[in-house]
Symmetry: C2
Subunit: 263 residues, 2 copies
Protein backbone atom coordinates (compact mmCIF):
# COMPACT_ATOMS: atom_id res chain seq x y z
CA UNK A 1 0.00 0.00 0.00
CA UNK A 2 1.45 3.31 -1.06
CA UNK A 3 0.58 5.87 1.59
CA UNK A 4 0.97 8.95 -0.63
CA UNK A 5 -1.44 7.53 -3.16
CA UNK A 6 -3.99 6.62 -0.49
CA UNK A 7 -3.65 10.13 0.93
CA UNK A 8 -4.26 11.78 -2.44
CA UNK A 9 -7.22 9.50 -3.06
CA UNK A 10 -8.81 10.23 0.34
CA UNK A 11 -8.34 13.98 -0.12
CA UNK A 12 -9.97 13.77 -3.55
CA UNK A 13 -13.02 12.00 -2.13
CA UNK A 14 -13.29 14.49 0.73
CA UNK A 15 -13.17 17.53 -1.54
CA UNK A 16 -15.74 16.01 -3.88
CA UNK A 17 -18.00 15.22 -0.91
CA UNK A 18 -17.59 18.82 0.27
CA UNK A 19 -18.81 20.09 -3.10
CA UNK A 20 -21.85 17.84 -2.84
CA UNK A 21 -22.62 19.17 0.64
CA UNK A 22 -22.32 22.79 -0.48
CA UNK A 23 -24.63 22.09 -3.42
CA UNK A 24 -27.18 20.54 -1.05
CA UNK A 25 -27.87 23.91 0.57
CA UNK A 26 -30.07 24.89 -2.35
CA UNK A 27 -32.40 21.92 -1.83
CA UNK A 28 -34.71 21.06 1.06
CA UNK A 29 -33.26 18.86 3.84
CA UNK A 30 -35.06 15.75 5.08
CA UNK A 31 -34.41 15.63 8.84
CA UNK A 32 -35.00 12.64 11.15
CA UNK A 33 -34.19 11.90 14.79
CA UNK A 34 -32.07 8.89 15.75
CA UNK A 35 -31.58 7.56 19.30
CA UNK A 36 -33.01 10.66 20.96
CA UNK A 37 -34.93 13.70 19.77
CA UNK A 38 -31.78 15.83 19.44
CA UNK A 39 -29.65 13.19 17.71
CA UNK A 40 -30.40 14.28 14.17
CA UNK A 41 -29.64 12.87 10.76
CA UNK A 42 -30.42 14.19 7.28
CA UNK A 43 -30.60 12.70 3.82
CA UNK A 44 -27.29 14.43 3.11
CA UNK A 45 -25.47 12.60 5.95
CA UNK A 46 -26.67 9.35 4.41
CA UNK A 47 -25.92 10.26 0.79
CA UNK A 48 -22.40 11.41 1.62
CA UNK A 49 -21.61 8.25 3.57
CA UNK A 50 -22.90 6.14 0.66
CA UNK A 51 -20.79 8.20 -1.76
CA UNK A 52 -17.63 7.37 0.22
CA UNK A 53 -18.52 3.71 0.63
CA UNK A 54 -19.31 3.20 -3.06
CA UNK A 55 -15.91 4.57 -4.06
CA UNK A 56 -13.87 2.87 -1.33
CA UNK A 57 -15.43 -0.53 -1.99
CA UNK A 58 -14.70 -0.15 -5.67
CA UNK A 59 -11.16 1.21 -5.44
CA UNK A 60 -9.80 -0.35 -2.25
CA UNK A 61 -11.26 -3.85 -2.05
CA UNK A 62 -10.59 -5.47 1.29
CA UNK A 63 -10.66 -2.16 3.17
CA UNK A 64 -13.37 -1.99 5.82
CA UNK A 65 -15.54 1.00 6.65
CA UNK A 66 -16.94 2.14 9.98
CA UNK A 67 -19.46 4.86 9.23
CA UNK A 68 -21.78 6.85 11.48
CA UNK A 69 -24.88 6.21 9.40
CA UNK A 70 -24.42 2.44 9.42
CA UNK A 71 -23.93 1.73 5.70
CA UNK A 72 -20.43 0.37 6.32
CA UNK A 73 -19.21 -2.78 8.04
CA UNK A 74 -19.84 -4.11 11.54
CA UNK A 75 -16.46 -4.61 13.18
CA UNK A 76 -15.34 -6.45 16.29
CA UNK A 77 -11.63 -5.88 15.67
CA UNK A 78 -9.47 -3.44 13.72
CA UNK A 79 -7.35 -5.79 11.59
CA UNK A 80 -6.25 -4.51 8.19
CA UNK A 81 -7.32 -1.15 6.77
CA UNK A 82 -10.36 0.50 8.37
CA UNK A 83 -11.83 3.81 7.22
CA UNK A 84 -13.65 5.55 10.09
CA UNK A 85 -16.01 8.12 8.62
CA UNK A 86 -18.42 10.71 9.91
CA UNK A 87 -19.86 12.21 6.71
CA UNK A 88 -21.16 15.25 8.63
CA UNK A 89 -19.82 15.72 12.14
CA UNK A 90 -21.98 18.35 13.82
CA UNK A 91 -25.27 17.55 12.11
CA UNK A 92 -27.19 19.88 14.43
CA UNK A 93 -24.97 22.76 13.29
CA UNK A 94 -25.35 21.61 9.66
CA UNK A 95 -29.13 21.88 10.00
CA UNK A 96 -29.37 25.05 12.10
CA UNK A 97 -26.33 26.97 10.90
CA UNK A 98 -25.13 25.60 7.57
CA UNK A 99 -21.65 25.96 9.09
CA UNK A 100 -19.52 24.66 11.96
CA UNK A 101 -19.69 21.06 10.75
CA UNK A 102 -17.00 18.91 9.15
CA UNK A 103 -16.28 15.73 7.27
CA UNK A 104 -14.25 13.55 9.65
CA UNK A 105 -12.18 10.64 8.35
CA UNK A 106 -9.45 8.49 9.85
CA UNK A 107 -7.73 5.60 8.05
CA UNK A 108 -6.39 3.01 10.46
CA UNK A 109 -4.11 0.02 9.75
CA UNK A 110 -4.25 -2.80 12.30
CA UNK A 111 -5.68 -0.34 14.83
CA UNK A 112 -3.07 2.39 14.28
CA UNK A 113 -4.18 5.72 12.77
CA UNK A 114 -2.06 6.36 9.67
CA UNK A 115 -4.07 9.12 7.97
CA UNK A 116 -6.42 11.71 9.47
CA UNK A 117 -8.68 14.37 7.92
CA UNK A 118 -11.08 17.02 9.13
CA UNK A 119 -12.66 19.11 6.40
CA UNK A 120 -14.43 22.34 7.37
CA UNK A 121 -16.56 22.36 4.25
CA UNK A 122 -17.86 25.92 4.45
CA UNK A 123 -14.50 27.56 5.03
CA UNK A 124 -12.68 25.14 2.68
CA UNK A 125 -10.19 24.31 5.42
CA UNK A 126 -8.74 20.80 5.26
CA UNK A 127 -6.83 19.69 8.34
CA UNK A 128 -4.81 16.54 7.61
CA UNK A 129 -1.96 14.40 8.87
CA UNK A 130 0.05 11.33 7.95
CA UNK A 131 1.36 9.53 11.01
CA UNK A 132 4.98 10.55 11.51
CA UNK A 133 4.92 13.28 8.90
CA UNK A 134 3.30 16.20 10.71
CA UNK A 135 -0.07 17.90 10.38
CA UNK A 136 -1.29 20.45 7.84
CA UNK A 137 -4.04 23.04 7.49
CA UNK A 138 -4.51 23.05 3.72
CA UNK A 139 -0.89 23.29 2.52
CA UNK A 140 0.51 24.96 5.64
CA UNK A 141 2.27 22.88 8.31
CA UNK A 142 0.62 23.16 11.74
CA UNK A 143 3.26 23.95 14.39
CA UNK A 144 3.87 21.57 17.29
CA UNK A 145 1.92 22.71 20.38
CA UNK A 146 3.73 24.56 23.15
CA UNK A 147 2.94 24.03 26.82
CA UNK A 148 0.41 26.15 28.71
CA UNK A 149 -1.18 26.30 32.16
CA UNK A 150 -4.71 25.69 33.42
CA UNK A 151 -5.14 29.36 34.32
CA UNK A 152 -4.28 30.45 30.77
CA UNK A 153 -6.23 27.70 29.03
CA UNK A 154 -9.36 27.83 26.89
CA UNK A 155 -11.28 24.56 27.16
CA UNK A 156 -13.84 23.10 24.77
CA UNK A 157 -16.58 21.85 27.07
CA UNK A 158 -20.33 21.74 26.55
CA UNK A 159 -22.50 23.14 29.35
CA UNK A 160 -24.40 19.80 29.38
CA UNK A 161 -21.48 18.24 31.24
CA UNK A 162 -21.23 21.09 33.74
CA UNK A 163 -24.80 20.61 34.98
CA UNK A 164 -25.64 17.51 37.05
CA UNK A 165 -25.56 14.50 34.69
CA UNK A 166 -25.17 10.74 34.87
CA UNK A 167 -21.67 10.55 33.37
CA UNK A 168 -19.38 12.75 35.44
CA UNK A 169 -19.23 14.43 38.86
CA UNK A 170 -20.02 17.98 37.85
CA UNK A 171 -18.36 19.59 40.91
CA UNK A 172 -14.97 19.00 39.31
CA UNK A 173 -16.03 20.67 36.09
CA UNK A 174 -17.49 23.61 38.01
CA UNK A 175 -14.04 24.11 39.53
CA UNK A 176 -12.51 23.79 36.07
CA UNK A 177 -14.83 26.48 34.64
CA UNK A 178 -13.72 28.81 37.43
CA UNK A 179 -9.99 28.00 37.13
CA UNK A 180 -9.48 28.40 33.37
CA UNK A 181 -9.29 31.49 31.19
CA UNK A 182 -12.30 30.58 29.07
CA UNK A 183 -14.81 27.93 28.01
CA UNK A 184 -16.04 27.47 24.45
CA UNK A 185 -18.43 25.07 22.79
CA UNK A 186 -18.75 24.69 19.02
CA UNK A 187 -20.91 21.56 18.66
CA UNK A 188 -18.62 19.44 16.46
CA UNK A 189 -16.11 17.06 18.04
CA UNK A 190 -14.10 16.97 14.82
CA UNK A 191 -13.81 20.75 14.62
CA UNK A 192 -12.97 20.97 18.32
CA UNK A 193 -10.15 18.46 17.70
CA UNK A 194 -8.98 20.66 14.81
CA UNK A 195 -9.10 23.62 17.20
CA UNK A 196 -6.96 21.76 19.74
CA UNK A 197 -4.49 20.75 17.02
CA UNK A 198 -4.11 24.37 15.90
CA UNK A 199 -3.84 25.69 19.46
CA UNK A 200 -7.07 27.72 19.27
CA UNK A 201 -8.35 25.86 22.31
CA UNK A 202 -6.11 23.95 24.70
CA UNK A 203 -8.25 20.90 25.43
CA UNK A 204 -11.58 19.35 24.52
CA UNK A 205 -13.57 16.70 26.32
CA UNK A 206 -16.84 14.87 25.92
CA UNK A 207 -18.64 12.11 27.79
CA UNK A 208 -19.78 10.10 24.80
CA UNK A 209 -18.18 9.94 21.39
CA UNK A 210 -18.00 7.30 18.68
CA UNK A 211 -14.89 6.17 16.76
CA UNK A 212 -15.88 8.13 13.62
CA UNK A 213 -16.20 11.38 15.61
CA UNK A 214 -12.55 11.34 16.67
CA UNK A 215 -10.61 8.92 14.41
CA UNK A 216 -9.40 11.56 11.97
CA UNK A 217 -8.81 14.28 14.53
CA UNK A 218 -6.77 12.09 16.85
CA UNK A 219 -4.21 11.39 14.10
CA UNK A 220 -3.91 15.13 13.44
CA UNK A 221 -3.77 16.17 17.11
CA UNK A 222 -1.14 13.55 18.00
CA UNK A 223 1.11 14.75 15.16
CA UNK A 224 1.41 18.15 16.87
CA UNK A 225 2.00 16.65 20.32
CA UNK A 226 -1.51 16.61 21.84
CA UNK A 227 -2.48 13.67 24.04
CA UNK A 228 -5.78 11.83 23.47
CA UNK A 229 -7.27 9.23 25.83
CA UNK A 230 -10.62 8.39 27.34
CA UNK A 231 -11.53 10.11 30.61
CA UNK A 232 -10.00 7.26 32.62
CA UNK A 233 -6.69 8.03 30.95
CA UNK A 234 -6.77 4.81 28.94
CA UNK A 235 -5.86 4.45 25.27
CA UNK A 236 -8.71 4.89 22.79
CA UNK A 237 -10.09 1.66 21.33
CA UNK A 238 -12.02 2.96 18.31
CA UNK A 239 -14.55 0.11 18.41
CA UNK A 240 -17.32 1.55 20.53
CA UNK A 241 -18.57 4.73 22.22
CA UNK A 242 -16.36 6.05 24.99
CA UNK A 243 -15.53 9.16 26.94
CA UNK A 244 -12.88 11.41 25.38
CA UNK A 245 -10.19 13.93 26.27
CA UNK A 246 -7.67 15.59 24.00
CA UNK A 247 -5.31 18.21 25.42
CA UNK A 248 -1.94 19.81 25.14
CA UNK A 249 0.52 17.47 26.82
CA UNK A 250 1.11 19.98 29.64
CA UNK A 251 -2.60 19.97 30.60
CA UNK A 252 -3.66 16.37 30.07
CA UNK A 253 -2.59 14.92 33.44
CA UNK A 254 -3.84 17.87 35.44
CA UNK A 255 -7.26 17.74 33.77
CA UNK A 256 -7.57 14.01 34.48
CA UNK A 257 -6.23 14.12 38.03
CA UNK A 258 -7.55 17.43 39.37
CA UNK A 259 -10.91 17.91 37.67
CA UNK A 260 -12.38 14.72 36.20
CA UNK A 261 -14.19 12.09 38.26
CA UNK A 262 -16.43 9.75 36.29
CA UNK A 263 -19.53 8.31 37.96
CA UNK B 1 -27.31 64.00 7.60
CA UNK B 2 -27.57 61.67 4.64
CA UNK B 3 -27.91 58.10 5.95
CA UNK B 4 -26.67 56.35 2.81
CA UNK B 5 -23.51 58.40 2.81
CA UNK B 6 -22.87 57.74 6.50
CA UNK B 7 -23.45 54.02 5.88
CA UNK B 8 -20.94 53.92 3.00
CA UNK B 9 -18.42 55.85 5.07
CA UNK B 10 -18.77 53.52 8.08
CA UNK B 11 -18.42 50.43 5.89
CA UNK B 12 -15.30 51.88 4.31
CA UNK B 13 -13.70 52.48 7.70
CA UNK B 14 -14.63 48.99 8.89
CA UNK B 15 -13.16 47.26 5.84
CA UNK B 16 -9.96 49.30 6.13
CA UNK B 17 -9.71 48.44 9.83
CA UNK B 18 -10.21 44.77 8.94
CA UNK B 19 -7.25 44.91 6.54
CA UNK B 20 -5.11 46.43 9.28
CA UNK B 21 -6.11 43.66 11.68
CA UNK B 22 -5.30 40.94 9.14
CA UNK B 23 -1.92 42.52 8.47
CA UNK B 24 -1.20 42.57 12.21
CA UNK B 25 -1.02 38.75 12.31
CA UNK B 26 2.47 38.86 10.88
CA UNK B 27 3.78 40.99 13.78
CA UNK B 28 4.09 40.21 17.49
CA UNK B 29 1.15 41.17 19.72
CA UNK B 30 1.62 43.18 22.92
CA UNK B 31 -0.91 41.76 25.38
CA UNK B 32 -2.01 43.35 28.67
CA UNK B 33 -4.67 42.54 31.26
CA UNK B 34 -7.35 45.08 32.18
CA UNK B 35 -9.78 44.82 35.12
CA UNK B 36 -9.04 41.15 35.74
CA UNK B 37 -6.41 38.69 34.54
CA UNK B 38 -8.61 37.34 31.74
CA UNK B 39 -9.86 40.72 30.52
CA UNK B 40 -7.24 41.18 27.81
CA UNK B 41 -6.27 44.02 25.50
CA UNK B 42 -3.64 44.23 22.78
CA UNK B 43 -1.87 47.02 20.98
CA UNK B 44 -4.08 46.21 17.97
CA UNK B 45 -7.34 46.86 19.89
CA UNK B 46 -5.94 50.28 20.80
CA UNK B 47 -4.56 51.10 17.35
CA UNK B 48 -7.81 50.18 15.62
CA UNK B 49 -9.90 52.28 18.01
CA UNK B 50 -7.57 55.23 17.44
CA UNK B 51 -7.82 54.72 13.66
CA UNK B 52 -11.62 55.00 13.83
CA UNK B 53 -11.58 57.98 16.19
CA UNK B 54 -9.05 59.91 14.10
CA UNK B 55 -11.21 59.57 11.00
CA UNK B 56 -14.58 60.18 12.67
CA UNK B 57 -13.34 63.30 14.47
CA UNK B 58 -11.99 64.64 11.20
CA UNK B 59 -14.93 63.78 8.94
CA UNK B 60 -17.95 63.98 11.26
CA UNK B 61 -17.27 66.81 13.66
CA UNK B 62 -19.80 66.91 16.48
CA UNK B 63 -20.30 63.15 16.47
CA UNK B 64 -19.37 61.51 19.76
CA UNK B 65 -17.57 58.21 20.22
CA UNK B 66 -17.99 55.57 22.93
CA UNK B 67 -15.11 53.13 22.51
CA UNK B 68 -14.09 50.09 24.51
CA UNK B 69 -10.48 51.16 24.87
CA UNK B 70 -11.36 54.58 26.27
CA UNK B 71 -9.91 56.88 23.59
CA UNK B 72 -13.36 58.26 22.82
CA UNK B 73 -15.70 60.50 24.78
CA UNK B 74 -17.18 60.12 28.26
CA UNK B 75 -20.93 60.30 27.92
CA UNK B 76 -23.74 60.74 30.43
CA UNK B 77 -26.45 60.97 27.77
CA UNK B 78 -26.94 59.92 24.16
CA UNK B 79 -27.92 63.19 22.50
CA UNK B 80 -26.94 63.63 18.86
CA UNK B 81 -24.85 61.15 16.94
CA UNK B 82 -22.91 58.59 18.99
CA UNK B 83 -20.63 55.92 17.49
CA UNK B 84 -20.38 52.90 19.80
CA UNK B 85 -17.30 50.92 18.86
CA UNK B 86 -15.59 47.76 19.94
CA UNK B 87 -12.51 47.60 17.71
CA UNK B 88 -12.02 43.89 18.49
CA UNK B 89 -14.92 42.14 20.17
CA UNK B 90 -13.65 38.78 21.41
CA UNK B 91 -10.07 39.83 22.21
CA UNK B 92 -9.36 36.48 23.92
CA UNK B 93 -10.26 34.70 20.67
CA UNK B 94 -8.21 37.22 18.69
CA UNK B 95 -5.16 36.38 20.80
CA UNK B 96 -5.64 32.60 21.10
CA UNK B 97 -7.32 31.79 17.81
CA UNK B 98 -6.77 34.61 15.32
CA UNK B 99 -10.45 34.07 14.46
CA UNK B 100 -13.92 34.28 16.03
CA UNK B 101 -13.61 37.99 16.77
CA UNK B 102 -15.32 40.95 15.13
CA UNK B 103 -15.37 44.70 14.73
CA UNK B 104 -18.60 45.87 16.35
CA UNK B 105 -20.05 49.30 15.56
CA UNK B 106 -23.42 50.93 16.17
CA UNK B 107 -24.29 54.49 15.19
CA UNK B 108 -27.02 55.96 17.39
CA UNK B 109 -28.96 59.20 16.95
CA UNK B 110 -30.54 60.60 20.12
CA UNK B 111 -30.34 57.14 21.67
CA UNK B 112 -31.90 55.28 18.73
CA UNK B 113 -29.75 52.82 16.77
CA UNK B 114 -29.81 53.86 13.12
CA UNK B 115 -26.88 51.86 11.72
CA UNK B 116 -25.36 48.60 12.93
CA UNK B 117 -22.29 46.61 11.82
CA UNK B 118 -20.55 43.41 12.84
CA UNK B 119 -17.52 42.51 10.75
CA UNK B 120 -16.12 38.99 10.99
CA UNK B 121 -12.69 40.04 9.80
CA UNK B 122 -11.25 36.60 9.09
CA UNK B 123 -14.16 35.32 7.06
CA UNK B 124 -14.78 38.71 5.42
CA UNK B 125 -18.42 38.61 6.49
CA UNK B 126 -20.02 42.00 7.12
CA UNK B 127 -23.37 41.92 8.89
CA UNK B 128 -25.11 45.30 8.64
CA UNK B 129 -28.44 47.03 9.00
CA UNK B 130 -30.05 50.41 8.60
CA UNK B 131 -33.00 50.87 10.93
CA UNK B 132 -36.19 50.23 8.99
CA UNK B 133 -34.40 48.90 5.91
CA UNK B 134 -33.61 45.29 6.82
CA UNK B 135 -30.38 43.50 7.61
CA UNK B 136 -27.68 42.15 5.31
CA UNK B 137 -24.85 39.66 5.35
CA UNK B 138 -22.47 41.20 2.83
CA UNK B 139 -24.88 41.97 -0.05
CA UNK B 140 -27.48 39.31 0.80
CA UNK B 141 -30.63 40.25 2.72
CA UNK B 142 -30.99 38.31 6.01
CA UNK B 143 -34.50 36.80 6.24
CA UNK B 144 -36.84 37.76 9.08
CA UNK B 145 -36.64 35.16 11.89
CA UNK B 146 -39.37 32.55 12.19
CA UNK B 147 -40.68 31.33 15.52
CA UNK B 148 -39.26 28.31 17.34
CA UNK B 149 -39.71 26.50 20.65
CA UNK B 150 -37.45 26.05 23.68
CA UNK B 151 -37.07 22.33 22.98
CA UNK B 152 -35.81 22.98 19.46
CA UNK B 153 -33.62 25.95 20.36
CA UNK B 154 -29.85 26.35 20.37
CA UNK B 155 -28.79 28.90 22.98
CA UNK B 156 -25.58 30.89 23.17
CA UNK B 157 -24.64 30.68 26.85
CA UNK B 158 -21.22 30.51 28.47
CA UNK B 159 -20.68 27.79 31.06
CA UNK B 160 -19.51 30.52 33.50
CA UNK B 161 -23.14 31.49 34.01
CA UNK B 162 -24.29 27.89 34.51
CA UNK B 163 -21.98 27.33 37.48
CA UNK B 164 -22.75 29.11 40.78
CA UNK B 165 -21.98 32.82 40.30
CA UNK B 166 -22.88 36.15 41.84
CA UNK B 167 -25.07 37.42 38.99
CA UNK B 168 -27.80 34.85 38.38
CA UNK B 169 -29.50 31.90 40.10
CA UNK B 170 -27.85 29.06 38.24
CA UNK B 171 -30.62 26.53 38.93
CA UNK B 172 -32.75 28.17 36.24
CA UNK B 173 -29.95 27.95 33.71
CA UNK B 174 -29.33 24.29 34.62
CA UNK B 175 -32.97 23.63 33.71
CA UNK B 176 -32.51 25.60 30.51
CA UNK B 177 -29.45 23.52 29.50
CA UNK B 178 -31.54 20.39 29.98
CA UNK B 179 -34.63 21.70 28.16
CA UNK B 180 -33.05 23.02 24.95
CA UNK B 181 -31.67 21.22 21.92
CA UNK B 182 -28.16 22.56 22.31
CA UNK B 183 -25.84 25.07 23.97
CA UNK B 184 -23.01 26.85 22.20
CA UNK B 185 -20.42 29.39 23.27
CA UNK B 186 -18.23 31.32 20.82
CA UNK B 187 -16.65 33.98 23.01
CA UNK B 188 -17.72 37.11 21.13
CA UNK B 189 -20.97 38.89 22.00
CA UNK B 190 -20.98 40.63 18.62
CA UNK B 191 -20.64 37.37 16.69
CA UNK B 192 -23.24 35.69 18.89
CA UNK B 193 -25.61 38.55 18.04
CA UNK B 194 -24.82 37.98 14.35
CA UNK B 195 -25.57 34.29 14.91
CA UNK B 196 -28.96 35.14 16.46
CA UNK B 197 -29.75 37.53 13.60
CA UNK B 198 -29.02 34.84 11.01
CA UNK B 199 -30.93 32.14 12.94
CA UNK B 200 -27.83 30.00 13.61
CA UNK B 201 -28.58 30.21 17.32
CA UNK B 202 -31.96 31.18 18.73
CA UNK B 203 -30.94 33.30 21.70
CA UNK B 204 -27.84 34.65 23.42
CA UNK B 205 -27.46 35.98 26.93
CA UNK B 206 -24.72 37.38 29.12
CA UNK B 207 -24.53 38.81 32.62
CA UNK B 208 -22.27 41.73 31.86
CA UNK B 209 -21.87 43.54 28.59
CA UNK B 210 -20.97 47.09 27.65
CA UNK B 211 -22.73 49.31 25.10
CA UNK B 212 -20.01 48.81 22.46
CA UNK B 213 -20.35 45.00 22.68
CA UNK B 214 -23.98 45.07 21.59
CA UNK B 215 -24.76 48.43 19.96
CA UNK B 216 -24.17 47.28 16.38
CA UNK B 217 -25.65 43.83 16.80
CA UNK B 218 -28.86 45.05 18.38
CA UNK B 219 -29.67 47.20 15.34
CA UNK B 220 -29.10 44.17 13.08
CA UNK B 221 -31.00 41.68 15.25
CA UNK B 222 -34.02 43.98 15.67
CA UNK B 223 -34.28 44.42 11.90
CA UNK B 224 -34.98 40.67 11.54
CA UNK B 225 -37.46 40.60 14.41
CA UNK B 226 -35.30 39.53 17.36
CA UNK B 227 -36.01 41.10 20.76
CA UNK B 228 -33.17 42.55 22.86
CA UNK B 229 -33.49 43.68 26.48
CA UNK B 230 -31.58 43.36 29.71
CA UNK B 231 -32.28 40.29 31.86
CA UNK B 232 -34.96 42.18 33.76
CA UNK B 233 -36.81 42.61 30.47
CA UNK B 234 -36.11 46.35 30.44
CA UNK B 235 -35.02 48.38 27.40
CA UNK B 236 -31.26 48.68 26.88
CA UNK B 237 -29.75 52.02 27.92
CA UNK B 238 -26.38 51.91 26.14
CA UNK B 239 -24.67 54.08 28.75
CA UNK B 240 -23.24 51.51 31.14
CA UNK B 241 -22.66 47.79 31.65
CA UNK B 242 -25.80 45.72 31.99
CA UNK B 243 -27.12 42.19 31.64
CA UNK B 244 -28.23 41.21 28.15
CA UNK B 245 -30.64 38.91 26.32
CA UNK B 246 -31.37 38.73 22.62
CA UNK B 247 -33.74 36.09 21.31
CA UNK B 248 -36.23 35.19 18.66
CA UNK B 249 -39.51 36.89 19.60
CA UNK B 250 -41.15 33.50 20.31
CA UNK B 251 -38.52 32.63 22.95
CA UNK B 252 -37.82 35.93 24.67
CA UNK B 253 -40.67 35.93 27.22
CA UNK B 254 -40.25 32.26 28.07
CA UNK B 255 -36.52 32.67 28.67
CA UNK B 256 -37.13 35.66 30.97
CA UNK B 257 -40.09 34.20 32.85
CA UNK B 258 -39.24 30.51 33.10
CA UNK B 259 -35.45 30.38 33.37
CA UNK B 260 -33.87 33.67 34.44
CA UNK B 261 -33.74 34.90 38.03
CA UNK B 262 -31.12 37.54 38.75
CA UNK B 263 -29.56 37.69 42.22
Amino acid sequence: MELQKLDRYAKGLIKEAGRKIRQSFSSELAIESKADANDLVTNIDKEIEQFFIRHIRNDYQGHLILGEEGFGDRLTKLDGYVWMLDPIDGTMNFIHQQRNFAISLGIYKDGIGILGYIYDVIHDELYSAQKGHGAYLNDEPIPVLESTTISQAIIGLNASWVVPNRHIENEGLIRLVKDVRGIRSYGSAALELAYVATGRIDAYMSMRLSPWDIAGGVVIAQEVGAVATNLNGQPLKFLEQDTFLVARKSLHDSLLNDYITLK
